[in-house]
């Protein structure tokens, strides 16, 4: 009898605690998966500063419907292997309602199966690989991974047309990084180049982390190009530009968003000049609602606003809008995001209107910026 009442009390206490638990755990968590150490760490820093700014802004305004927001950071080194081990840790934490990440397409592709299987909405601010849109739906056809950045094929097509029509180049050498990002971009470029009649005189590859590119450049130089398409990231891109200059190649360099980092100029030195790149966001041409953010950001971090920070800021903004509308439920948030499917329903962020197609991919325009006298400026001629 005594034992029984003891048991009843215990059950009662448990019930009270469990019922009270959601009321106590009011903080909404958003996972942020990015490289915070390792060779791509500066991407992680960019993402973090964008997320941090948005989270601080949300909390200063009293949270989302009274719930404070917290960002939880997961380091995945831009490495598919690491990303695949980080993903289960994220989904296991039930307080995390959505993920901002990953930065690199290959890492995103590696983590994607876990997110889709368990069912957590993901917004990548930077992964531009084309195939992501074919691998992000569960068996019921529901898309779990969205992105608010345009795709490689779009950038590749855009660059081929820009090189021919605006830059007036005729003979292009292609130098690509041997991973999902570099190859996807290169393939789209080659296809569009063939369509618009732009001659490609050579195509060579390199491995991430390499520092000597002279053998490949020597080979490319043989084709006598007037333009060099660097389909990769800024670290290697800067070295490629510098070594091409050392080999006496007088070429206009161009590439996509992967080149867009101040380190490109730092490492490339004078050779970085005369490089064009597509970016999803350009502070100089930003919409009106971005001005306040740009000012706060530049005061706080003492550097120019980059597109990754801007997109990360908007990715958190999209989650905040979803949370405000449907509350902290992974599935409902997904439904909300999937419902943003046309220009009239678009989320008005600082990077312009964002809406998703049936594959979770956005339709956003590209800006072109260039390096001139050791500084980034908007390219004199944009293309729509």
């Amino acid at each position: 009898m005594r034992l029984k009442s003891w048991k009843t009390t215990l059950v009662f206490v448990c019930a009270v605690v469990l019922a009270g638990a959601p009321a106590l755990a009011q903080t909404v968590k958003i996972g942020v998966a990015a490289p915070f150490t390792g060779p791509a760490a500066s991407y992680g820093e960019n993402i973090k500063s964008g997320v941090e700014t948005k989270v601080a802004e949300l909390n200063a305004a009293g949270g989302i419907n009274g719930m404070p927001v917290e960002a939880v950071y997961f380091d995945e080194l831009c490495d598919p292997k690491e990303a695949a081990t980080v993903a289960p840790r994220i989904v296991r934490d039930r307080a995390i309602v959505g993920v901002v990440g990953h930065v690199c397409s290959s890492a995103h592709l590696a983590a994607l199966p876990t997110y889709v299987r368990v069912g957590i909405p993901v917004i990548s601010p930077t992964a531009t690989n084309v195939t992501i849109g074919d691998q992000n739906a569960d068996r019921a056809g529901r898309v779990w991974s969205f992105r608010n950045v345009y795709l490689d094929d779009y950038q590749g097509q855009f660059l081929a047309r820009y090189a021919k029509e605006v830059l007036g180049l005729a003979r292009i050498a292609v130098f690509y990084e041997n991973n999902d990002y570099g190859i996807g971009l290169k393939d789209a470029f080659l296809k569009e180049a063939a369509a618009v009649g732009l001659a490609v005189v050579g195509s060579e590859g390199y491995v991430k982390g390499a520092s000597d590119f002279t053998p490949q450049l020597t080979k490319l130089r043989g084709g006598n190009p007037d333009g060099l398409f660097i389909s990769g990231y800024y670290n290697e891109g800067a070295l490629i530009a510098a070594q091409a200059a050392n080999l006496g190649m007088k070429v206009v360099k161009f590439g996509a968003d992967g080149l867009d980092n101040v380190d490109y100029i730092q490492l490339g030195g004078a050779a970085a000049d005369n490089t064009y790149m597509t970016v999803p966001f350009l502070a100089a041409a930003a919409p009106e609602q971005a001005k306040a953010f740009i000012r706060t950001f530049e005061e706080k971090y003492r550097r120019d606003l980059d597109w990754m920070s801007a997109n990360a800021y908007d990715a958190v903004g999209l989650f905040a809008a979803a949370l405000a509308a449907v509350g902290p439920d992974r599935e409902k948030i997904r439904d909300y995001l999937a419902g943003i499917d046309g220009p009239e329903k678009a989320y008005e962020g600082i990077t312009g209107p964002t809406y998703f197609n049936a594959k979770g991919d956005p339709e956003k325009m590209a800006f072109v910026k260039m390096v001139q006298d050791g500084r980034f400026t908007a390219a004199p001629r944009q293309m729509r």
Binding site: T37, G38, P39, A41, S42, N178, E204, G205, Y206, V207, G209, S211, D212, T214, P215, Q216, T218, K219, R221, G222, N235, A238, L239, A242, Q243, N246, L247, G248, D263, Q266, L267, G268, G269
Partner: protein, 295 residues
């Protein structure tokens, strides 16, 4: 194009050779593969840049100071990590070497951060960035000539130290038989420390040259360079100093020609295939002597 690829390969190869010499000397004297050697190479580059940016020293002075610092680091590495294990099984020292490599790499990550840094170009003598000669399609920069001169100069100096000085004689004696050398009155620990200092100095020079040549340095740069240089040392015959030099140059040229004529994505593959082919045909390496196992 062939001439240009040979120049590219030779530049790379001489740098590998400088690092490989450090592996092979230490192996020759205490039969230890010092995996932390790649990190000394990385530290050389970082010391040099820090001395230029923080202390404002001119390039040549900073380079010399960085090399001396690295030589001291090499001695310290031996005293702290390897000397206590001199009589322990070889595997223990090998694991310690890997541990020291990871430790130094992470220490550098904490001190200097993970981002790639440019070499402070303003401090470099202006002539280094100019073309020394251009013949049609073939170009050679002063910087490449500087690398050739420094690397070959260092190797000649090393050869003289090993063959014409008493310490060099002691090193060679130690390589033949440690017990007998000790019985002849050679201060074994001092000679081993000297070997580490010499190898580390060569590694540091390589690190600085690479940082200048590619205008970039980062804390993980020692890993790949270390692996390549180790391969070069094995290719040339580990324990043989001229072998390490030859091995480095062969590997560098194979890599450049592989990238230029086979496929740019298989450049490392081509380099290692050459290494494997040599090892299969001559297990002791190009210039290595067939070892008589002392055990």
């Amino acid at each position: 194009m062939l001439e240009q690829q040979l120049i590219n390969g030779l530049t790379l190869g001489l740098i590998y050779a400088l690092i490989a010499v450090g592996y092979t000397m230490v192996y020759g004297v205490i039969q230890l593969i010092n995996f932390a050697h790649g990190e000394i190479y990385m530290l050389g580059a970082f010391f040099c840049v820090t001395l230029i940016t923080a202390a404002g020293l001119p390039f040549y002075v900073a380079m010399l100071m960085a090399v001396i610092c690295c030589a001291l680091c090499g001695i310290l590495l031996d005293i702290i990590a390897y000397r206590p294990l001199r009589r322990a099984p070889r595997l223990a020292a090998l694991i310690t070497a890997i541990g020291m490599s990871i430790f130094l790499q992470n220490l550098a990550l904490i001190i200097w951060g993970s981002r790639s840094k440019p070499f402070p170009r303003a401090s470099l003598p202006a002539y280094l960035s100019e073309q020394a000669l251009v013949m049609g399609q073939v170009g050679l920069t002063w910087l490449q000539l500087f690398i050739f001169a420094v690397a070959i100069g260092m190797m000649v100096a090393l050869f003289l130290v090993i063959h014409k000085t008493r310490t060099g004689t002691a090193m060679r004696a130690l390589a033949q038989n440690r017990t007998a050398a000790a019985l002849m009155g050679i201060n074994v620990n001092a000679v081993i420390s000297f070997t580490f200092a010499l190898g580390s100095a060569m590694g540091a020079v390589a690190g600085i040259l690479v940082a200048v040549y590619y205008n970039t340095l980062y804390p993980t740069m020692g890993y790949t360079a270390g692996v390549k240089a180790f391969a070069a040392a094995v290719l040339g015959g580990i324990g043989s100093v001229p072998g390490a030099m030859v091995g480095g140059v062969v590997l560098g040229v194979a890599e450049a020609l592989g990238a230029g004529y086979v496929s740019s994505l298989y450049r490392d593959g081509v380099a290692y295939a050459v290494m494997i082919a040599v090892i299969v045909l001559r297990p002791s390496g190009i210039l290595g002597r067939a070892a008589i196992d002392k055990a």
